[in-house]
Point group: C2
Chain length 262, copies 2
Amino acid sequence: MLPGLSGETRIHLIVGDPVAQTKSPAGLTRVFAARGVDAVCVPMQVSAADLDPFMAAAKRVRNIDGIVVTVPHKFAALAHCERPSERARALAAVNAMRRERDGAWAGDMTDGVALVAALQAAGFAPQGRRALVVGAGGAGSAVVLALADAGARVAVHDTDAARREELRARLSARDIAIGSADPAGFDLVVNATPLGMAANDALPVATDRLEAGAYAADLVTRPVVTPFLDRARRRGSPIVTGEDIFAPQAGILADFLLFASG
Amino acid sequence: MLPGLSGETRIHLIVGDPVAQTKSPAGLTRVFAARGVDAVCVPMQVSAADLDPFMAAAKRVRNIDGIVVTVPHKFAALAHCERPSERARALAAVNAMRRERDGAWAGDMTDGVALVAALQAAGFAPQGRRALVVGAGGAGSAVVLALADAGARVAVHDTDAARREELRARLSARDIAIGSADPAGFDLVVNATPLGMAANDALPVATDRLEAGAYAADLVTRPVVTPFLDRARRRGSPIVTGEDIFAPQAGILADFLLFASG
């Protein structure tokens, strides 16, 4: 149960395609209520072709204060932020936008921060560890940057080599290696692709090659335990689920969304 | 308290400017829950200048099933309905839109129906009675049509004479008289203007000229008892508030919004 909606309730959107699996409508709305803020997070299923006119229209709605951005719009949404953060610019992606007091829209990319927080809560300290991140999309890029900035030695794998190289070029100030679907030699494997959402998806890595005791993390939130995490767990790996990652994420997003400045 | 929001919750909007006073976010969402439907009604404050691009974008959002339209957009929204009802076409206005199964948007205008239902619940039978409707906007036009179709002899007053004459021309199949701010001679006076929402608004009619026992109704929902209703009540008039009118309205809107066909 949530507090009541009224005409005075402030609105934050989560924009994605699909949206049925997203946790922000429930999670963020709960955080708003816990902080005494009369606001809700409303899902909006917007196709890629419709994103630009949708964002232009949504930014002008006067009771919309924030927009959470999810798959597949994290790259395209950057163009709709007049004031992106440094890490959003480095990643060329945003996962959260808010209207500043002067009317400009700020953007940030907090996915990687949430994953690092969830890993640390699960007992994994990134400093000096070898991490393989699968998926060089918006979330994967954020994870790579956050892990590198937390001191991990990071390799990235994406079946789209051009996308992987774009990420490495963008983050050229960090030393990001090239990975593959082989997790041998890594202390941590992060799935940052959508693989695992659909029943017949391929696995993101060859799980039979996971190192003993390597951590496995997955950004997919539904199912909570993806086939990748299930296989890793059977091999004795500590796992970090999308829900584990979302737990700090809602608070991190609310910190950003509710702190209008400028 | 309301049922939880999730990524799977279906979305209905109420589009207006302002929206803080609207009852649909609470009222419609409660009706959805009472009917076992996982849906919410979300307020969207959209200026007149922004309406067309907003509606074009909102109609393409795949988890938005319906749009309630309020002041000042009821006329302009008609152009966004591919399939308006007969009364919506007659009134050149809509207060509710829904996506049909084939993707086209149907539109209807139920404001007048709700007022007639509320009047009947308060003991006023329109047949043969003399009614003065103040305000020839979207809601006022709907009230005029519904009262005329319920057998009342209706006069309309609007300080914008051109708008009043447009209404009479549109409803030329009914015999709609010209009224004024003088309520003498009427059994019912309906305020269908926004007058009364702001503290220093003028009164819609000269309340000292109200007939003894004449009914007074007001479409304004905040304050619940407008200065017009307050003065009428002090003179002994039975009153029908915007909340009284909204009580059947939410159910009437839900009937329309949840019945996708086509």
